[in-house]
Symmetry: C2
């Protein structure tokens, strides 16, 4: 089983200081109120806390910040073949107004990820986070780090001032293709900093509204990628959408197909039915899997959906999906694909050999 969304984190941003370039080190130390902080990930605070209460490491610190806790709580007991690490606080990097600072923080994060996490355990695979505010700089980042053997994707936070189909983002896709990586978009940072309000009617009032509606960014990116013709321009490109659930996808595909039939003269570079393009080029992680009584019927509404879904736990978030519970709710014939094979194909992961775990300090290379 491959878990496509595991949130490892730094305990505080100062943990990244050894990896930040000297030009920005003082900025991170001294700017703002006694040191730089990323915008608060959740303006809308979860009433019981955003993470599982049992995920705090034994010696304290942020959930997801301690490898041993992740191993004991997730990797070992759930028999996870690979865990795709997606970061946590760093996902609000797309909200920063200053693109140089954003890029510097992303680079420091990526170096920390590569040095501190990936060497520890052969099950861990990394996502290269880039600051989409500056696509040319992001492309350089991808070319600099994208060939690391344990980096499996480029990761963009969903929060953005434009749909990710917009030409301003194309350098990111060119670089990703060059290094042979898919690009992922992960929920995060919506409504913070320089990004637009998180819903089409502005700022919601409650966390529950924010959480129900955070699918709107994902919907917008799917439409923008499709109608800007990104997949016609970059046929090798594959894009994953992470932590937005999946129940909204069938109706969006119908709506896109219906409108394309009537309006394609406006976007003549879009050559095929949008649903066919999405089916070929995009993947969606299951979590948080919506919970209708008629799930199997709902999933059957899109041909080929079994090839588009990839399982994720979203550890250590509050709405963690247990693999056994998800698996038994999928149609039997879908289980192997959704619980592992689709992710293996997207990320080019070999059938895992015996797990190799490095002693905690041994992985540190700087």
């Amino acid at each position: 089983m491959i878990d496509c969304d595991v949130h490892q984190n730094f305990d505080s941003l100062s943990e990244l200081l050894p990896w930040i370039d000297p030009a920005h080190r003082d900025y991170i130390r001294h700017s703002g109120f006694g040191g730089f902080e990323l915008p608060n990930y959740l303006t809308w605070t979860h009433p019981h806390g955003t993470t599982r209460c049992d995920a705090v490491p034994p010696d304290g610190g942020a959930p997801g910040s301690d490898y041993e806790t992740v191993r004991k709580q997730l990797l070992d007991p759930l028999d996870i073949e690979y865990a795709i690490l997606t970061g946590e606080d760093i996902l609000s990097v797309s909200s920063l107004p200053n693109p140089q600072v954003a890029a510097a923080v992303a680079t420091a994060y990526n170096r920390w990820l590569i040095d501190e996490w990936l060497p520890r355990d052969s099950r861990l695979k990394g996502s290269l986070i880039v600051a989409s505010q500056g696509a040319e700089r992001a492309a350089e980042e991808i070319r600099a780090f994208g060939d690391h053997p344990d980096i499996v994707q480029v990761l963009l936070p969903c929060a953005a001032p434009a749909g990710y189909g917009h030409p301003q983002y194309h350098p990111i896709y060119e670089a990703a293709i060059e290094v042979g990586l898919p690009v992922a978009m992960h929920v995060g940072g919506e409504g913070l900093g320089i990004n637009p309000p998180p819903t089409a009617t502005g700022y919601p009032t409650y966390y529950i509204e924010w959480h129900v509606l955070l699918i709107q960014c994902a919907m917008s990116h799917v439409a923008a990628l499709t109608f800007h013709g990104v997949f016609e321009r970059y046929p090798e490109l594959r894009v994953a959408v992470i932590e937005a659930g999946v129940a909204w996808l069938p109706s969006l595909l119908w709506r896109m197909d219906t409108d394309w039939k009537a309006l394609r003269s406006e976007v003549p570079w879009v050559k095929r039915l949008p649903s066919e393009t999405v089916r070929e080029h995009m993947r969606f992680t299951t979590q948080p899997l919506e919970d209708p009584e008629k799930l199997e019927q709902a999933l059957g509404l899109v041909d080929g959906l079994e090839d588009m879904l990839m399982f994720a736990t979203d550890y250590p978030h509050w709405d963690f999906d247990r693999p056994d519970l998800v698996s038994r709710r999928l149609p039997t014939s879908w289980r192997k694909k959704v619980m592992g094979e689709n992710a293996r194909a997207l990320y080019g992961l070999p059938l895992a050999p015996a797990v190799s775990v490095t002693a905690t300090e041994a992985g540190r290379t700087s």
Copy 2:
């Protein structure tokens, strides 16, 4: 058959001058570049034009601006029992920064509607448009005109800087209940004037993106009405959502139910499953009915959906839905309800007696 979305329009805003209060008449005549204009309804322009080409009146003018054309093209040939008029250009009134001007224009529109349209044909029923920028003033408008026998609902444009569940809008609901009218929300004005961008990732590039994604405002309003507990506070309130299609509704209800089970401590005033509340209190017009091959299967995913849908043509828009085509795609047992009975119940419309048409000029009372 009852058509719940028919766009009558003025040919130009100056047509409303006889009905505007004297304090604002000069403003409408002289402000801006040689006269006040409502914000352009579509920044994102439809490649073939937003209305049916054949809907231009024989003597010219805006589609929907000539009663005889509406009668000959829609009411008579399609044997429409009632047509709910929903306006057109006026739907961007919620984008105006100046709340006094917005309210004055809405009032002039309502007086024009009542004097010029409603007396002409017993099949025509009107929507009282209010400027939601100022809820107290909107409530006065509802109390002033809401008891007109041919006004069947209060109408808010979907474009708004907050979800319509927010307490700032509650005076509108109190007044609507007082005069016994449902409240409708109609797509319109998204991303214009003082309203937020029309998607959660900002301004789309193309009309097709704008159109696919305009459901986001509707989704946000459904979530906001639910989680602010508007229907617990106003149990008599009924709300219709117009011109946003329906395929997105099942997955939104699942997502709201799932999150409510986990997060209801944040919104303890929400006493029931969101899907039950929506089923009891909300109605949705069918147009533009999304076109999946598996429509019947999709519609069956929500219990009671047959009681929530109301047919609409959206005349004279480009994506007009023909009643025979919609009807035959509905489950047989749903047809009577969706094509008329649900709207009759919501609007309290009697079984229509013989059609009464007034000679064109006779309806003019001012």
